[in-house]
């Protein structure tokens, strides 16, 4: 047994988990309006975890399983920031839905703790534990709206398919263990590098493919995406945005550590699968999104398409591509927070259904929300100088450098297709006549504040991306894989 190492290395995981317990207990003593206090405590928890994680200078691996390195820090800080914004939005949104469950906030924190573990795990089993921690919390969150049938349906679907995916992943881990004799990434990597073509090599490839399938479910990659639209539509919007941003971030952080860096040696053999997966994911996502009438379903398919863009980085398989993915995850997170935030700000009764046509005329009647939505949509298309543009630029550059010119062309054509439905939203808002004098919305200061932050972040990530860009590039310097 190697030495455990300093407990400081566990700080991000510990902070998130302890805060989750604290908030859970605090929630027990809150009644009525004091839900808001619990929510604020959650924000404090997330912000303090982010600050603590960001300030840690020590680097190393705890007990051979949990790494504190640039990737952990980047992913944890980003996850906390995105989760905090989603919580602030939920403060205004949840009351409109009538969701009473105070367990909402501790569950968010447990999920974040799971994400941190996923990002930090250098052992496949620990990574799996993180994944399960996160998933369990999100299953409950998806179904937290007990009076709404669609929410229940979403939770069941997500749970069943998620369990299915977990099984794939676990089997993949077992096969990888069989091929290399270890679940610690550094040893797996060494075994993978040594493996000569033969049965054990084949076993490793199958294992790695199974792992990819498992991740594919979590990031909604085609053909494992079928749960996404139903779950995104059925879950309360504040949970949907959490799933679309934080959960995806956790899965991709784990993918980057395990596949991109750890199993680099097999990446070459799987490149065709990754290439096809990326191309199929963005193409299916974009084309199906074209036909959506419901805003949340459209955004669900758009998030599938963006997973496809992110998979380009995985197909490229270079460290630079990993950096591009990390940067894109940040941009993608704030863009989606903005888009879903507008959806939340506009929902009258928190109804799960929100038709795109309901946005008609808000360009005139609610100009500020319409501008926020327009900025997010343009950024999702990838129009400069917004964050979405720079994110794509970075990904495409990495892919071009890795020689994936064909995939970049596919992605560019996909961007054109995506312009149809993203601009369709803009068109509806500005060109179609809606209710000219709508009821004034109840004041929702928290959503507006979080929305403003998100939109500003979308713009800043495009105009002054320096800090996040260098964060993303530092994150992949010296990624730790084991003791």
């Amino acid at each position: 047994m190697p030495q455990l190492g300093s407990y400081t290395l566990l700080a991000p995981v510990l902070a998130a988990s302890v805060w989750a317990l604290v908030v859970l207990i605090a929630e027990l003593f809150s009644v009525g309006r004091r839900h808001l206090a619990v929510a604020w405590l959650t924000v404090v928890a997330l912000v303090s975890t982010a600050i603590l994680t960001g300030s840690l200078a020590e680097r190393g691996v705890f007990g051979g399983a949990i790494a504190l390195d640039g990737l952990t820090v980047y992913a944890s800080v980003l996850a906390c920031a995105l989760a905090a914004l989603s919580v602030v939005m939920a403060m205004d949104y949840l009351p409109t839905t009538g969701i009473k469950g105070g367990e909402y906030y501790p569950l968010i924190l447990f999920a974040v703790a799971g994400v941190v573990v996923m990002a930090a795990a250098t052992d496949l089993i620990v990574m799996f534990l993180g994944l399960e921690t996160m998933s369990m919390a999100v299953y409950v969150l998806a179904g937290i709206w007990k009076s709404e049938g669609k929410s229940n349906e979403a939770a069941v679907k997500y749970f069943l398919l998620g369990a299915f995916a977990s099984a794939f992943m676990l089997y993949g881990i077992a096969l990888v263990y069989g091929a290399t004799g270890s679940t610690v990434l550094s040893e797996v990597a060494a075994g993978a590098a040594d493996a000569v073509p033969g049965p054990s090599r084949t076993l490793l490839l199958i294992g790695a493919s199974m792992l990819l399938v498992g991740f594919g479910f979590k990031v909604a990659a085609v053909p494992f995406h079928l749960w996404t639209p139903d779950v995104y539509e059925g879950a309360p919007t504040s949970v949907t945005v959490f799933m679309a941003t934080v959960v995806k971030l956790g899965a991709f952080a784990a993918v980057i550590r395990t596949m991109l860096v750890g199993l680099e040696a097999v990446g070459g053999d799987l490149w065709l699968a990754l290439w096809l997966g990326a191309a199929a994911t963005m193409t299916v996502g974009n084309f199906v999104a074209l036909r959506q009438k419901d805003l949340k379903r459209m955004l669900a398919y758009s998030s599938i398409a963006h997973s496809g863009y992110l998979l380009i980085g995985l197909a490229a398989g270079t460290p630079e591509a990993g950096q591009a993915m990390l940067f894109y995850l940040a941009v993608y997170g704030v863009m989606n927070l903005g888009a879903f935030g507008v959806a939340m700000a506009l929902s009258e009764d928190g109804a799960t259904e929100q038709r795109i046509s309901d946005l008609a005329g808000i360009g005139h009647s609610r100009p500020v929300l319409a501008i926020a939505m327009t900025i997010c949509m343009l950024s999702l298309v990838g129009i400069p100088p917004l964050g979405g543009f720079l994110g794509k630029l970075y990904l495409f550059k990495a892919a071009l450098d890795a020689g994936l010119t064909g995939l970049v062309v596919v992605a560019v054509l996909n961007s054109v297709v995506s312009a149809f439905y993203y601009l369709g939203v803009v068109r509806t808002m500005y060109f179609e006549r809606g209710n000219e004098n709508p009821q004034p919305l109840a004041p929702r200061p928290f959503i507006w504040a979080a929305l403003a932050l998100s939109v500003v972040a979308v713009v800043l990530l495009g105009v002054m991306p320096g800090a996040v860009l260098s964060g993303a590039s530092v994150a992949l310097e010296g990624v730790l894989l084991g003791p």
Binding site: H364, T374, L378, I383, P384, P385, F389, L390, L393, Y394, F396, K397, L400, D401, V408, V409, V412, L413, S415, V416, A419, F420, L423, V426, R427, Y430, F431, E432, P465, G466, L469, S470, S473
Partner: protein, 565 residues
Amino acid sequence: MDSAVLTWIVAIPALGALLLSVIPEQARTILRSIAVAVAAIPFFLALRVWNAFDTSNGGFQFVERSEWIPQFGISYFVGVDGISLLLVLLTVFLTPLVLYSSEDSIHQRLKGYLVSVLLLETAMLGTLVSLDAILFYAFWELMLVPMFLIIGIWGGQRRIYAAIKFVLFTMVGSLPMLVALIYLGFHHLDGPSFALTDLYGIQLTQTAGLWCCFAMLLAFAIKVPMWPLHTWLPDAHVEAPTGGSVILAGVLLKMGTYGVVRFVIPLFPDALPVFMPWVAILAVVGIVYGALVAMVQEDLKKLVAYSSVSHLGFVMLGLASLTAVGVSGSVYQMLNHGISTGALFLLVGMIYERRHTREIAAFGGLWKKLPLYASAFLIVTLSSIGLPGLNGFVGEFMILLGGFRADPVTAAIATSGVILGAVYMLWMFQRVMFGPLDKMENRVLEDLTPREIIVLAPLIALIFVMGVYPKPFLDTMEASVATTLTYASGQVPATSRARAVTSTDGDCLEAAGSKVAGCTITAEPQLPAHDGNGHGANAHEGKAGVGHLHSEDPHAGHAHEGSAH
């Protein structure tokens, strides 16, 4: 303001838009006055720039450069040469007129319209002055959004269809261009750089050069638009409000031809011989096709829209000739087209506001009732035809001259376009203005209002000035056209030029190996007019404006200030 005059020119309209957005919608007169006043500032600033512009210098002047995203080699890098300066002048000249004329054509949501037009002005000016490929692309895409809104909100019956079509056509073209730009920027030898001065002279493999050239030509050909990619244009023009049409025809289409001058011609000397003959052929097809289709139009605005296809065909023909006279003619014709077609759209808009129809058949004999309007229309029509003494003649003549040098056959066919142009324009004029005043509705029409005269007068004055005395305009662009064509011929040792312009003194001193080589090449005497002060420059920069080019040089700004006064 002089130290960053281009930045101010670009930013002022956007700042004005911000200012307008806090003024209440009801204050229509105040809104419009402020918008016009704001748009006038860049006009005067641009005139100052023109005044201080060194016409003997074919390089970029009034350069400003600062790092933006150093990781990707993206910088905020702006400057003008003779070509872009003239188009900047056209933009800042047309926009206030459009804003001023909005009173007649925009009846609802005036504030949003003014804000959109001002934002569009910023985007257009930014596109013209950008010397960084990504900055260029950012402004290029930014142009879409306000135009999308202008067509989609204030347009005619089928406005939404037209707006979407406009955006999607342009975007389909511009994304491959983005890939090409990324490829160029990241395949630059000294690490990533998107600065045009670095990209000029980039060494590409044959295949890469062909593909990048094709991608960029495609993007620009859609914007121009060249036959057979022109189908978005008639829709966009017909549906857009008058002001939108004026800007669309006057400036936006020029972005395509400008892109060819700025990017395609200097960047891909090896691919030009492959593509330019095809461009010439498509241009000629566009000239004849546009003219023939214009001839049979029943709708005045559609007629003018198709005439644009024909006129822009001429511009592309001149560019494809790759001769100094042809390219100069094209640049000149860009200005002419902006002025005369802009004026035509304004005139069509004025009659539409009176009669609420644009059917040619609905008019007839207007001269008797509207003598002022008809005279203005006649002058603009003749300018559009290319009557000697008016501006259109100079440009078309030069283009055909250049075209004949490149390929007599295509040029000969193109000449028929001049004749056809006269046919459809004069026929239209005859049907609208002459004949009996037999329609009841036309008998009560009022002649031009003072506001309309104010809008039209500067345009008509320019039509005469540019026809009789084109020298100042041609002088402004001459050196820049020559420089551009030097790149196209591949005569300047490409890499040395690219490095020379951007490498700072420090680079030369501290760098080892290749960079030192890059610096020394420029110091060799085979570049005749080289200034020899270690900055490096190309043969056409001459003496005076060298400081402008070297933005890294901390004294560059002062050097410019000196010459600006």
